[in-house]
Symmetry: C2
Subunit: 228 residues, 2 copies
Protein backbone atom coordinates (compact mmCIF):
# COMPACT_ATOMS: atom_id res chain seq x y z
CA UNK A 1 0.00 0.00 0.00
CA UNK A 2 1.34 3.39 -0.93
CA UNK A 3 0.18 6.01 1.51
CA UNK A 4 0.95 9.67 1.68
CA UNK A 5 2.61 10.57 4.96
CA UNK A 6 1.17 13.26 7.15
CA UNK A 7 2.10 15.02 10.37
CA UNK A 8 -0.61 15.93 12.87
CA UNK A 9 0.37 18.47 15.51
CA UNK A 10 -2.02 17.58 18.30
CA UNK A 11 -2.50 19.60 21.48
CA UNK A 12 -2.56 17.06 24.32
CA UNK A 13 -4.28 19.37 26.77
CA UNK A 14 -3.19 20.64 30.16
CA UNK A 15 -2.78 17.33 32.00
CA UNK A 16 -5.99 15.34 32.51
CA UNK A 17 -6.04 12.66 29.77
CA UNK A 18 -9.83 13.00 29.53
CA UNK A 19 -9.32 16.54 28.23
CA UNK A 20 -7.89 15.29 24.94
CA UNK A 21 -10.19 16.12 22.03
CA UNK A 22 -12.16 13.48 20.11
CA UNK A 23 -10.11 14.37 17.02
CA UNK A 24 -6.83 13.98 18.92
CA UNK A 25 -7.92 10.56 20.23
CA UNK A 26 -8.98 9.40 16.75
CA UNK A 27 -5.61 10.40 15.30
CA UNK A 28 -3.66 8.70 18.09
CA UNK A 29 -5.61 5.49 17.47
CA UNK A 30 -4.45 5.45 13.82
CA UNK A 31 -0.90 6.70 14.39
CA UNK A 32 2.12 4.87 12.99
CA UNK A 33 4.47 7.15 14.91
CA UNK A 34 3.90 9.26 18.03
CA UNK A 35 6.47 11.88 19.02
CA UNK A 36 5.62 13.40 22.38
CA UNK A 37 7.02 15.95 24.81
CA UNK A 38 7.98 15.29 28.41
CA UNK A 39 4.89 17.10 29.75
CA UNK A 40 2.40 14.84 27.95
CA UNK A 41 0.26 12.59 30.16
CA UNK A 42 1.58 9.01 29.59
CA UNK A 43 -1.99 7.67 29.68
CA UNK A 44 -2.54 9.24 26.26
CA UNK A 45 0.16 7.10 24.67
CA UNK A 46 -1.93 3.99 25.43
CA UNK A 47 -4.42 5.15 22.81
CA UNK A 48 -1.86 4.48 20.07
CA UNK A 49 -1.79 1.06 18.38
CA UNK A 50 0.50 -1.50 20.04
CA UNK A 51 2.79 -1.57 17.00
CA UNK A 52 3.14 2.23 16.81
CA UNK A 53 6.60 3.73 17.21
CA UNK A 54 6.59 5.92 20.33
CA UNK A 55 9.34 8.51 20.59
CA UNK A 56 9.63 10.68 23.69
CA UNK A 57 11.41 13.98 23.66
CA UNK A 58 12.32 13.96 27.32
CA UNK A 59 15.07 15.11 29.64
CA UNK A 60 16.73 11.69 29.22
CA UNK A 61 16.42 11.87 25.47
CA UNK A 62 16.53 15.50 24.42
CA UNK A 63 16.86 16.37 20.78
CA UNK A 64 17.09 19.67 19.03
CA UNK A 65 14.36 21.29 16.98
CA UNK A 66 16.47 20.52 13.86
CA UNK A 67 16.69 16.83 14.81
CA UNK A 68 12.97 16.77 15.50
CA UNK A 69 12.18 18.35 12.13
CA UNK A 70 14.43 15.81 10.39
CA UNK A 71 12.61 12.99 12.18
CA UNK A 72 9.16 14.34 11.27
CA UNK A 73 10.27 14.76 7.67
CA UNK A 74 11.77 11.23 7.44
CA UNK A 75 8.71 9.50 8.88
CA UNK A 76 6.27 11.51 6.75
CA UNK A 77 8.36 10.77 3.62
CA UNK A 78 8.09 7.07 4.47
CA UNK A 79 4.29 7.42 4.26
CA UNK A 80 3.67 7.28 7.98
CA UNK A 81 0.83 8.85 9.93
CA UNK A 82 2.81 10.87 12.48
CA UNK A 83 1.20 12.37 15.56
CA UNK A 84 3.31 15.08 17.14
CA UNK A 85 1.71 15.21 20.58
CA UNK A 86 2.47 18.46 22.36
CA UNK A 87 1.66 19.02 26.02
CA UNK A 88 0.88 22.27 27.72
CA UNK A 89 0.08 25.02 25.27
CA UNK A 90 1.79 24.26 21.98
CA UNK A 91 0.73 27.50 20.37
CA UNK A 92 0.90 29.80 23.36
CA UNK A 93 4.58 30.10 24.28
CA UNK A 94 5.12 26.48 23.25
CA UNK A 95 7.06 26.95 20.01
CA UNK A 96 4.28 25.23 18.07
CA UNK A 97 4.45 28.11 15.61
CA UNK A 98 8.10 27.36 14.93
CA UNK A 99 7.36 23.67 14.32
CA UNK A 100 4.64 24.63 11.87
CA UNK A 101 7.04 26.97 10.06
CA UNK A 102 9.60 24.16 9.77
CA UNK A 103 7.03 21.70 8.41
CA UNK A 104 5.78 24.22 5.86
CA UNK A 105 9.34 25.09 4.80
CA UNK A 106 10.13 21.38 4.31
CA UNK A 107 6.87 20.87 2.32
CA UNK A 108 5.70 18.22 4.81
CA UNK A 109 1.90 17.94 4.74
CA UNK A 110 0.53 18.71 8.19
CA UNK A 111 -2.62 19.50 10.11
CA UNK A 112 -2.90 21.24 13.43
CA UNK A 113 -5.42 20.01 16.02
CA UNK A 114 -5.90 22.47 18.86
CA UNK A 115 -6.15 21.22 22.42
CA UNK A 116 -7.60 22.47 25.66
CA UNK A 117 -5.37 25.33 26.73
CA UNK A 118 -3.82 25.49 30.19
CA UNK A 119 -4.40 29.26 30.00
CA UNK A 120 -8.14 28.75 30.39
CA UNK A 121 -8.45 25.22 31.82
CA UNK A 122 -6.07 25.43 34.78
CA UNK A 123 -7.61 28.53 36.41
CA UNK A 124 -11.01 26.94 35.81
CA UNK A 125 -9.92 23.70 37.52
CA UNK A 126 -8.66 25.84 40.40
CA UNK A 127 -12.07 27.53 40.66
CA UNK A 128 -10.99 30.90 39.27
CA UNK A 129 -13.07 32.52 36.51
CA UNK A 130 -10.66 34.44 34.26
CA UNK A 131 -13.14 37.19 33.51
CA UNK A 132 -16.26 38.46 35.18
CA UNK A 133 -18.77 40.95 33.90
CA UNK A 134 -18.27 43.25 36.87
CA UNK A 135 -14.71 42.41 37.98
CA UNK A 136 -12.35 41.66 35.08
CA UNK A 137 -12.74 42.62 31.43
CA UNK A 138 -9.19 42.00 30.23
CA UNK A 139 -7.09 38.86 30.27
CA UNK A 140 -3.35 39.11 29.77
CA UNK A 141 -1.13 36.09 29.25
CA UNK A 142 2.67 36.19 29.44
CA UNK A 143 5.42 33.67 29.94
CA UNK A 144 7.25 33.74 33.27
CA UNK A 145 10.07 31.67 31.89
CA UNK A 146 12.52 34.54 31.65
CA UNK A 147 13.84 36.42 34.64
CA UNK A 148 12.20 39.88 34.68
CA UNK A 149 15.38 41.31 36.21
CA UNK A 150 17.23 40.63 32.93
CA UNK A 151 17.48 43.40 30.32
CA UNK A 152 15.79 43.22 26.88
CA UNK A 153 12.68 41.47 28.12
CA UNK A 154 10.09 40.22 25.69
CA UNK A 155 7.50 41.02 28.37
CA UNK A 156 6.89 44.68 29.30
CA UNK A 157 6.53 44.17 33.05
CA UNK A 158 6.03 47.89 33.75
CA UNK A 159 3.03 47.97 31.41
CA UNK A 160 1.77 44.65 32.75
CA UNK A 161 1.77 46.07 36.30
CA UNK A 162 -0.59 48.83 35.13
CA UNK A 163 -2.83 46.56 33.03
CA UNK A 164 -6.23 45.92 34.62
CA UNK A 165 -7.97 42.54 34.75
CA UNK A 166 -6.69 39.02 35.16
CA UNK A 167 -3.08 38.09 34.44
CA UNK A 168 -1.99 34.54 33.64
CA UNK A 169 1.74 33.89 33.93
CA UNK A 170 2.69 30.57 32.37
CA UNK A 171 5.72 28.67 33.66
CA UNK A 172 6.27 31.35 36.27
CA UNK A 173 6.98 29.35 39.41
CA UNK A 174 10.78 29.30 39.19
CA UNK A 175 10.98 33.08 38.76
CA UNK A 176 8.07 33.83 41.08
CA UNK A 177 9.95 35.95 43.65
CA UNK A 178 11.54 38.07 40.93
CA UNK A 179 8.24 38.43 39.04
CA UNK A 180 6.35 39.51 42.18
CA UNK A 181 9.06 42.00 43.13
CA UNK A 182 9.18 43.43 39.60
CA UNK A 183 5.39 43.87 39.39
CA UNK A 184 5.25 45.56 42.81
CA UNK A 185 8.20 47.76 41.84
CA UNK A 186 6.22 48.91 38.80
CA UNK A 187 3.16 49.78 40.86
CA UNK A 188 1.07 46.61 41.09
CA UNK A 189 -0.69 46.60 44.48
CA UNK A 190 1.16 44.32 46.97
CA UNK A 191 -2.21 42.94 48.16
CA UNK A 192 -3.23 41.81 44.66
CA UNK A 193 -4.64 38.28 45.15
CA UNK A 194 -2.54 35.59 43.47
CA UNK A 195 -3.12 31.87 42.96
CA UNK A 196 -0.30 29.54 41.88
CA UNK A 197 -1.38 26.15 40.52
CA UNK A 198 0.82 23.14 39.79
CA UNK A 199 -0.24 20.00 37.91
CA UNK A 200 -3.52 21.74 37.03
CA UNK A 201 -6.47 19.52 35.97
CA UNK A 202 -4.76 16.34 37.19
CA UNK A 203 -5.25 14.36 40.43
CA UNK A 204 -2.05 15.96 41.71
CA UNK A 205 -3.33 19.52 41.29
CA UNK A 206 -2.24 21.90 44.02
CA UNK A 207 -3.01 25.60 44.43
CA UNK A 208 -1.43 28.10 46.82
CA UNK A 209 -3.09 31.49 47.27
CA UNK A 210 -1.89 34.71 48.81
CA UNK A 211 -1.17 38.39 48.26
CA UNK A 212 1.42 39.29 45.62
CA UNK A 213 3.79 40.51 48.37
CA UNK A 214 3.82 37.12 50.11
CA UNK A 215 3.03 34.58 47.39
CA UNK A 216 6.64 33.56 46.66
CA UNK A 217 7.26 32.67 50.33
CA UNK A 218 4.00 30.72 50.58
CA UNK A 219 4.72 28.79 47.39
CA UNK A 220 8.25 27.96 48.58
CA UNK A 221 6.89 26.85 51.98
CA UNK A 222 4.35 24.59 50.25
CA UNK A 223 7.08 23.06 48.08
CA UNK A 224 5.35 23.89 44.80
CA UNK A 225 7.48 23.83 41.70
CA UNK A 226 9.30 20.65 42.60
CA UNK A 227 9.00 18.01 39.92
CA UNK A 228 7.90 15.28 42.36
CA UNK B 1 -33.16 3.83 41.70
CA UNK B 2 -32.29 6.82 43.80
CA UNK B 3 -29.55 8.86 42.18
CA UNK B 4 -27.94 12.06 43.26
CA UNK B 5 -28.42 14.75 40.67
CA UNK B 6 -25.43 16.58 39.27
CA UNK B 7 -24.79 19.45 36.90
CA UNK B 8 -21.81 19.29 34.53
CA UNK B 9 -20.80 22.58 32.95
CA UNK B 10 -19.13 21.39 29.77
CA UNK B 11 -17.20 23.59 27.36
CA UNK B 12 -18.37 22.58 23.87
CA UNK B 13 -15.36 24.03 22.10
CA UNK B 14 -15.10 26.70 19.42
CA UNK B 15 -17.23 25.07 16.69
CA UNK B 16 -15.80 21.86 15.23
CA UNK B 17 -17.64 18.99 16.96
CA UNK B 18 -14.45 16.88 16.88
CA UNK B 19 -12.88 19.39 19.27
CA UNK B 20 -15.12 18.28 22.15
CA UNK B 21 -13.11 16.60 24.90
CA UNK B 22 -13.31 12.87 25.67
CA UNK B 23 -14.76 13.78 29.08
CA UNK B 24 -17.39 16.05 27.53
CA UNK B 25 -18.43 13.30 25.10
CA UNK B 26 -18.65 10.70 27.90
CA UNK B 27 -20.89 13.00 29.95
CA UNK B 28 -23.15 13.80 26.99
CA UNK B 29 -23.58 10.05 26.35
CA UNK B 30 -24.93 9.56 29.90
CA UNK B 31 -26.93 12.79 30.16
CA UNK B 32 -30.59 12.80 31.23
CA UNK B 33 -30.89 16.49 30.40
CA UNK B 34 -28.83 18.70 28.06
CA UNK B 35 -29.20 22.48 28.25
CA UNK B 36 -27.26 24.15 25.45
CA UNK B 37 -26.60 27.63 24.11
CA UNK B 38 -27.36 28.86 20.61
CA UNK B 39 -23.70 28.78 19.59
CA UNK B 40 -23.24 25.07 20.30
CA UNK B 41 -22.67 22.82 17.28
CA UNK B 42 -25.91 20.79 16.84
CA UNK B 43 -23.86 17.68 15.93
CA UNK B 44 -22.84 17.43 19.59
CA UNK B 45 -26.45 16.95 20.71
CA UNK B 46 -26.56 13.67 18.78
CA UNK B 47 -24.16 12.19 21.35
CA UNK B 48 -26.89 12.37 24.01
CA UNK B 49 -29.19 9.34 24.52
CA UNK B 50 -32.36 9.36 22.41
CA UNK B 51 -34.54 9.73 25.52
CA UNK B 52 -32.57 12.67 26.92
CA UNK B 53 -34.37 15.97 27.40
CA UNK B 54 -32.71 18.57 25.15
CA UNK B 55 -33.34 22.21 26.03
CA UNK B 56 -31.94 24.95 23.81
CA UNK B 57 -31.37 28.45 25.08
CA UNK B 58 -31.72 30.12 21.71
CA UNK B 59 -32.98 33.35 20.18
CA UNK B 60 -36.38 31.69 19.69
CA UNK B 61 -36.44 30.46 23.25
CA UNK B 62 -34.48 32.87 25.41
CA UNK B 63 -34.59 32.56 29.15
CA UNK B 64 -32.97 34.57 31.85
CA UNK B 65 -30.06 33.50 34.01
CA UNK B 66 -32.51 33.18 36.94
CA UNK B 67 -34.79 30.89 34.91
CA UNK B 68 -31.79 28.85 33.82
CA UNK B 69 -30.60 28.47 37.40
CA UNK B 70 -34.08 27.39 38.51
CA UNK B 71 -34.14 24.80 35.72
CA UNK B 72 -30.69 23.44 36.63
CA UNK B 73 -31.69 23.26 40.27
CA UNK B 74 -35.02 21.49 39.55
CA UNK B 75 -33.47 18.83 37.30
CA UNK B 76 -30.55 18.21 39.67
CA UNK B 77 -32.97 17.90 42.62
CA UNK B 78 -34.90 15.28 40.62
CA UNK B 79 -31.70 13.19 40.50
CA UNK B 80 -30.91 13.91 36.87
CA UNK B 81 -27.51 14.01 35.23
CA UNK B 82 -27.60 17.48 33.69
CA UNK B 83 -25.09 18.59 31.07
CA UNK B 84 -24.98 22.35 30.67
CA UNK B 85 -23.27 22.59 27.29
CA UNK B 86 -21.75 25.99 26.71
CA UNK B 87 -20.38 27.09 23.36
CA UNK B 88 -17.67 29.57 22.68
CA UNK B 89 -15.64 30.35 25.76
CA UNK B 90 -17.79 29.75 28.83
CA UNK B 91 -15.18 31.01 31.25
CA UNK B 92 -13.63 33.74 29.15
CA UNK B 93 -16.28 36.46 28.77
CA UNK B 94 -19.00 33.79 28.67
CA UNK B 95 -20.60 34.29 32.09
CA UNK B 96 -19.60 30.76 33.07
CA UNK B 97 -18.28 32.21 36.32
CA UNK B 98 -21.71 33.59 37.13
CA UNK B 99 -23.37 30.23 36.47
CA UNK B 100 -20.88 28.54 38.78
CA UNK B 101 -21.58 31.13 41.49
CA UNK B 102 -25.32 30.49 41.18
CA UNK B 103 -24.89 26.69 41.39
CA UNK B 104 -22.66 27.00 44.45
CA UNK B 105 -25.09 29.44 46.13
CA UNK B 106 -27.96 27.01 45.51
CA UNK B 107 -25.90 24.06 46.85
CA UNK B 108 -26.29 22.20 43.56
CA UNK B 109 -23.45 19.72 43.09
CA UNK B 110 -21.55 20.56 39.94
CA UNK B 111 -18.38 19.85 38.03
CA UNK B 112 -16.77 22.03 35.42
CA UNK B 113 -15.22 20.43 32.31
CA UNK B 114 -13.06 22.85 30.35
CA UNK B 115 -13.23 22.91 26.58
CA UNK B 116 -11.00 23.99 23.75
CA UNK B 117 -10.96 27.77 23.89
CA UNK B 118 -11.70 29.90 20.84
CA UNK B 119 -9.01 32.26 22.15
CA UNK B 120 -6.30 29.77 21.22
CA UNK B 121 -8.01 27.44 18.72
CA UNK B 122 -9.45 29.95 16.26
CA UNK B 123 -6.21 31.84 15.52
CA UNK B 124 -4.52 28.45 15.22
CA UNK B 125 -7.14 27.26 12.71
CA UNK B 126 -6.56 30.50 10.80
CA UNK B 127 -2.81 29.79 10.71
CA UNK B 128 -1.80 32.48 13.20
CA UNK B 129 0.53 31.56 16.08
CA UNK B 130 -0.47 33.71 19.06
CA UNK B 131 3.04 34.02 20.37
CA UNK B 132 6.45 33.62 18.86
CA UNK B 133 9.81 33.56 20.57
CA UNK B 134 11.12 36.49 18.54
CA UNK B 135 7.91 38.35 17.62
CA UNK B 136 5.27 38.29 20.39
CA UNK B 137 5.75 37.59 24.10
CA UNK B 138 2.44 38.87 25.43
CA UNK B 139 -1.10 37.81 24.60
CA UNK B 140 -3.97 40.09 25.58
CA UNK B 141 -7.61 39.02 25.35
CA UNK B 142 -10.54 41.43 25.62
CA UNK B 143 -14.17 41.39 24.64
CA UNK B 144 -15.22 43.59 21.75
CA UNK B 145 -18.86 43.31 22.71
CA UNK B 146 -19.12 46.83 24.11
CA UNK B 147 -18.71 49.94 22.01
CA UNK B 148 -15.33 51.51 22.90
CA UNK B 149 -16.83 54.97 22.25
CA UNK B 150 -19.07 54.53 25.34
CA UNK B 151 -17.91 55.89 28.70
CA UNK B 152 -17.06 53.65 31.69
CA UNK B 153 -15.50 50.91 29.64
CA UNK B 154 -14.42 47.67 31.25
CA UNK B 155 -11.61 47.55 28.70
CA UNK B 156 -8.84 50.17 28.91
CA UNK B 157 -8.44 50.76 25.17
CA UNK B 158 -5.75 53.42 25.64
CA UNK B 159 -3.59 50.96 27.54
CA UNK B 160 -4.41 48.18 25.08
CA UNK B 161 -3.19 50.35 22.19
CA UNK B 162 0.22 50.60 23.92
CA UNK B 163 0.39 46.93 24.93
CA UNK B 164 2.90 44.92 22.87
CA UNK B 165 2.28 41.43 21.47
CA UNK B 166 -0.81 39.74 20.10
CA UNK B 167 -4.31 40.99 20.88
CA UNK B 168 -7.37 38.76 20.63
CA UNK B 169 -10.70 40.61 20.56
CA UNK B 170 -13.62 38.23 21.10
CA UNK B 171 -17.02 39.06 19.63
CA UNK B 172 -15.57 42.19 18.06
CA UNK B 173 -16.99 42.13 14.55
CA UNK B 174 -20.06 44.30 15.17
CA UNK B 175 -17.99 47.06 16.78
CA UNK B 176 -14.99 46.60 14.51
CA UNK B 177 -14.93 50.11 12.96
CA UNK B 178 -15.21 51.75 16.36
CA UNK B 179 -12.59 49.45 17.90
CA UNK B 180 -10.10 50.11 15.07
CA UNK B 181 -10.66 53.87 15.26
CA UNK B 182 -10.28 53.87 19.05
CA UNK B 183 -7.04 51.87 18.97
CA UNK B 184 -5.55 54.12 16.26
CA UNK B 185 -6.67 57.19 18.20
CA UNK B 186 -4.74 55.89 21.22
CA UNK B 187 -1.56 55.36 19.20
CA UNK B 188 -1.79 51.86 17.77
CA UNK B 189 -0.04 51.86 14.37
CA UNK B 190 -2.59 52.06 11.52
CA UNK B 191 -0.62 49.42 9.57
CA UNK B 192 -0.86 46.86 12.41
CA UNK B 193 -1.80 43.59 10.69
CA UNK B 194 -5.25 42.32 11.66
CA UNK B 195 -7.07 39.07 10.90
CA UNK B 196 -10.83 38.68 11.48
CA UNK B 197 -12.14 35.11 11.58
CA UNK B 198 -15.77 33.97 11.56
CA UNK B 199 -17.00 30.42 12.23
CA UNK B 200 -13.45 29.47 13.25
CA UNK B 201 -12.54 25.73 13.23
CA UNK B 202 -15.67 24.80 11.24
CA UNK B 203 -16.13 24.09 7.53
CA UNK B 204 -17.57 27.59 7.18
CA UNK B 205 -14.47 29.30 8.56
CA UNK B 206 -13.62 32.58 6.84
CA UNK B 207 -10.75 34.97 7.54
CA UNK B 208 -10.25 38.50 6.26
CA UNK B 209 -6.87 40.16 6.72
CA UNK B 210 -5.74 43.76 6.41
CA UNK B 211 -4.15 46.72 8.16
CA UNK B 212 -5.95 48.10 11.22
CA UNK B 213 -6.82 51.28 9.29
CA UNK B 214 -8.69 49.36 6.57
CA UNK B 215 -9.86 46.14 8.25
CA UNK B 216 -13.43 47.32 9.02
CA UNK B 217 -14.05 48.19 5.35
CA UNK B 218 -12.60 44.88 4.14
CA UNK B 219 -14.68 42.88 6.61
CA UNK B 220 -17.84 44.76 5.62
CA UNK B 221 -17.07 44.20 1.91
CA UNK B 222 -16.60 40.49 2.54
CA UNK B 223 -19.89 40.30 4.42
CA UNK B 224 -18.39 38.85 7.58
CA UNK B 225 -20.45 39.10 10.71
CA UNK B 226 -23.71 38.11 9.09
CA UNK B 227 -25.33 35.15 10.73
CA UNK B 228 -25.81 33.25 7.44
Amino acid sequence: MNRKGMVYLVGAGPGDAELLTLRGAALLRQADVVIHDALVNPELLRLAPAQAEIIGRTADRPFSQAELNALLQARAAAGKCVVRLKGGDPFVFGRGGEEVEALAAAHIPFEVVPGVSAVTAVPLAAGIPLTHRTLASTLTVVTGHEDPAKPNQGVDWALLARTPGTKVILMGVERLASIAQTLIGHGQAPDTPVAVTQWGTTGRQRTVEGPLSDIARRVADAGLGRRR
